[in-house]
Symmetry: C4
Subunit: 252 residues, 4 copies
C-alpha cells in the first residue's frame, strides 16, 4: 500500500560525497541555504522521489503544467580539493512518523550506493523572538565532526536545542549513525515567525568553511535586509502604539 517511485533523471556516481539536506522546516532556513547553494554551484538534478508519504497533491508551474509533489536530489562534482556534493530538497517532508522513517531509510540506502559518506543536515532553531545576530548551533554523530564544526564557527551549547532535532534533519543523522554514516546538523538561530534569509546566510558562512567552497551570498543578504526593513517598520508601529496607549493612561 505504500508507494515510493524513484525517477533517475541522470545516472551519476559520486566519490566520498557529502549529502546536504535542505527540506522545509523552521524559518525554511535549511531550504533557503540549500537552494542558494544549488544555484550558486550550478548543481544539477539527478533524481526525483515520489511517495505516498507526501501529500496527495500536484503543484502547477507558470505554464499551467502539473507536477506531483516530490523530493529531488541535485549533485555537484567537486573541483580540486572540494568534495562531491549531493543535495536533498523538496516542497515537503514525509507527513507522519512512519513516513519520515521510511523515506529516510530508503534515502540513506540509496545515497550510500551513490557514493555518499557524510551527511550534513541544515535547519533553523526557533527561538520565538527576533534574533538580530543569529548564531549557528551544531549537533553531530561523533566527536570528530563536533571538532570540525567548531573550527567553522559552529557553536555547541549544552541543553540546546532541548527537544533535540525533529524531522528529516534529525532522522537522517540518527539513522545514518546506525548504518555507519557520520555527519552533523547546522542550525541557524531564527525567530521561527517567518522565512529567514539572514539565518540561512549565517548557516552558509559556516558551510563554506566546512566545504571549502566560496559562494556569493549577496542575494540572500539583500533579501535579509528587506525582511529586516519590514520587521523594523512593524516594530515602529508597535512602539508608537504602546506610546499612545501609555499617553492615554497618563491623561486618564
Amino acid at each position: 500500500m505504500v508507494f515510493t517511485e524513484i525517477v533517475r533523471t541522470e545516472d551519476i556516481k559520486l566519490k566520498d560525497a557529502i549529502l546536504l539536506e535542505g527540506l522545509p522546516g523552521v524559518g525554511n532556513v535549511g531550504k533557503l541555504a540549500a537552494m542558494h547553494l544549488i544555484e550558486e554551484l550550478k548543481a544539477k538534478k539527478c533524481m526525483e522521489i515520489y511517495s505516498s508519504h507526501f501529500p496527495p497533491q500536484v503543484l502547477i508551474d507558470e505554464d499551467g503544467i502539473v507536477n506531483l509533489v516530490n523530493n529531488e536530489l541535485y549533485y555537484y562534482n567537486g573541483k580540486g580539493k572540494e568534495r562531491d556534493l549531493l543535495f536533498l530538497v523538496g516542497e515537503y517532508q514525509g507527513m507522519d512518523s512512519s513516513g519520515q522513517y521510511d523515506l529516510c531509510q530508503k534515502l540513506i540506502a540509496m545515497v550510500k550506493e551513490m557514493g555518499v559518506t557524510t551527511i550534513y543536515t541544515l535547519g533553523g532553531y526557533g527561538l520565538g523572538k527576533l534574533v538580530p545576530d543569529p548564531r549557528v548551533l551544531g549537533a553531530a554523530t561523533s566527536n570528530d565532526i563536533v571538532k570540525l564544526f567548531k573550527k567553522a564557527d559552529v557553536e555547541f551549547i549544552d541543553g540546546e536545542p532541548g527537544a533535540g532535532i525533529v524531522g528529516a534533519s534529525g532522522l537522517l543523522l540518527g539513522l545514518g549513525k546506525l548504518q555507519g554514516i557520520h555527519g552533523g546538523c547546522l542550525m541557524g538561530e531564527t525567530s521561527g515567525y517567518m522565512v529567514d534569509p539572514k539565518s540561512a546566510s549565517v548557516v552558509l558562512k559556516s558551510l563554506q568553511k566546512l566545504l571549502g567552497v566560496s559562494i556569493d551570498l549577496s542575494e540572500l543578504e539583500e533579501r535579509a535586509k528587506q525582511v529586516d526593513s519590514i520587521t523594523n517598520q512593524l516594530k515602529d508601529i508597535e512602539t508608537s502604539d504602546k506610546e499612545e496607549r501609555s499617553d492615554v493612561n497618563y491623561i486618564g
Copy 2:
C-alpha cells in the same frame, strides 16, 4: 490489512477512451458535472470499487436497502467522431493520503487496461466569495493539452490555484503523468460555501467543446437559478441588517 474489492457489473473494452473524474470536492462542482453528463449521455455502470480507504459506512436507499460506500465507473461508447468515455464517481474520496495514492494507483492501472489513454479531472476552485460569473481554470500534464484546453475557453492564470490541486483531481494527473498517461484538470470557480450547479454548468460548457458532444444543460441552469435566488435573498437580509445597524449609529 488494506481491503479493495472490484466488482465488474459489465465487462467492457474501450478504445482510446477519456477518463472523466467527478468525485466529491469543493462546491461538488466535479461531481455535479460528471453526474449530469452520465445522465444526459445515458452512460452505464460497469464497475464498483469497494475499499477500506473509504469510511466504514453503508448508505440506505429509498427502499431501506443498504449499500456499502464505494466509487463507481460508468462508460459511454462514443458515436461517430466522439471518443469513448469512462466516468469515475462516488460518495467519497480515499480518506487519507496513503489511501488516495493507493486508490489512484490501482485505478490508473485498471483503466489503462480498459483502454483509457487520457484523463480529465473535474473540480471546483474555491474563491471564498460569491462568484457571479465563474470562469473555468485549467492545469494539464503537457503543453499540448494546455493548447487544447485554451481552445475550449479554459483559462490558465500564473499562480492559480496557488496551492496546486489536492486530492483525486490532482493525483490522477500527477500519477498518470508518471505512467505516461496525459490529461488535465478543469476547475470551475466557486465560492466553496455551497453546492454550485452554475460552476458545474460552465465546466460542462468547456467540456462539451473538448469532447465534441452536445448535451442539454437546462436542468443544471435551472438549479443554478434557484441557488442564485436563495443567495440574493440572503444578501438582501444582510444588507438591510447593516442599514438598520448604521441607522442606530446615526441616531446614537
Copy 3:
C-alpha cells in the same frame, strides 16, 4: 504489523445460524440488547478476538485480574424451530476505518465457516432529543428481509438514518452482502445522551418476533424506569430554573 489473535474457548459448529452483533455504539442500545439476550438465553462463550485494532489497554476485574480488551463470540443452540444464534459483543469496536474493515472481513469469513447464514446488527439511532416512545427503525440487504422486518414491527422511513449506518453495524451488512450473506439492522431510537435500556427493550421486542424466542424483559424495563425517573427529575429542575428566571424578568 497488524496483530489479530483468535482464541477458541470451545470448538462449535452451528447450522443455518444468525449472527447478532451488539458492539458498543449510540446509547449502547445494541450492546444492552445483545448482553440481555445472552444472559436470558444462557448463551456460552466460544471465542475471544484480540487485535491491534483495539486500544492498547487491559481491563481489571473484581479480583484484580487483568484482561486484554477484546471482542467475544457467544453461541446458543436453537430449540425446536428456533435458529442457532451467535453473538458478537465486546468493550470496543475497531478504532479506525481500516481496523473496522479488517476486523469485519475476518469475522465474516470466520462465522461463515462456523455456520452463520444471516447477520442481524443491533444499534441505536440518535435523535438528539428525549424519545418517550422509541420506535425500531430498520435497514436490510434485500427486499425479503425488509418484508420480514416489517412483520416484526420494524419501521422503514425513507431518508432515515440520513447518514446511513457507520461502524460494525453497517459494515457487517455491507461486506456481508458483497460475500453473499444477507441480513439487516435494527436501530432503536434513542436520545444518544445516555445509555438507553428502554430503546434496547423495544429492539428486543422486535427481535423476539424475528427469532421466535420468548425472553423476560423485566430487568431492562426496570432499568428503563430508573433512567426515566432521573431524566424527569432533571427536567423538573430545568423547568423550575426557567420559571424563576422568567419571574425575574417580570419583576424587572
Copy 4:
C-alpha cells in the same frame, strides 16, 4: 514500511528472569522507579531498540552528540536467592495503538528467548489531586501473583483503576498472559500533575519486598522532599490569595 532495529550491545542469557518495565507515563512514576533501581543495582545495558513507532527525532547529549530516540534493555544478574532482572526503559512509548501492540509483541518474543519468565510493569495511578501518602495499587494476570503482591503491601481495590491500564504497562501484561507469561502491575498513586519521586519511592518499597533486594532510596526521598516543599509553597500562596479575596468580600 515498519522499521524496527535491534542493536545488541552485549549478548546475554538470563535464568528465570523478571522483566521490569519503566517507560514514561503518569507522573513518570514507573520510569523514576526503574531508573533508580538500574543505578542502585548497577544494571548494565544489553540492547537498544530503534523503531518507526517512536517519534522521528534525535536527542542531543552534553557533548553535542545526537542519538536516535529508542528503548533500552538493562540486565542485572541476581546474587544468591535474587532472581535475574531485565529492565525496559526509554524516552518514549510507541506512539499509536498499532505501534504499541507491535513493539510489545516483538519485545515479549525477544525477552522470552532471553530467559524472562515473569513481567512486572511499573506505573503511576493519577488521582487528579495531591496525594500526601500514596499507596501502591496492583493488578495481575493470575491469583497467585495477586497473593504475592498483597504480601508486599500492594493494595487491590475493586473498580480501581476504573479505566484499566493503558499503554505498555497494560499491554505487556495482557499480551504476555496470552503467550503464557504471567506478571503484574505496580501503580503508585500520584496527582498526575508533576514528576513524582515520592510515588516512585513507595513503588520501590513494595518492589524490594517482591524482588528480595535491598536498595538505598534516600536520593529519591530527597527529591520527594524538594517537590513537597515546592508544592507547599504553592499551596501557601494560593491560600493567602483566597484569604485576601475573602477579606475584600467581607469589606465589600
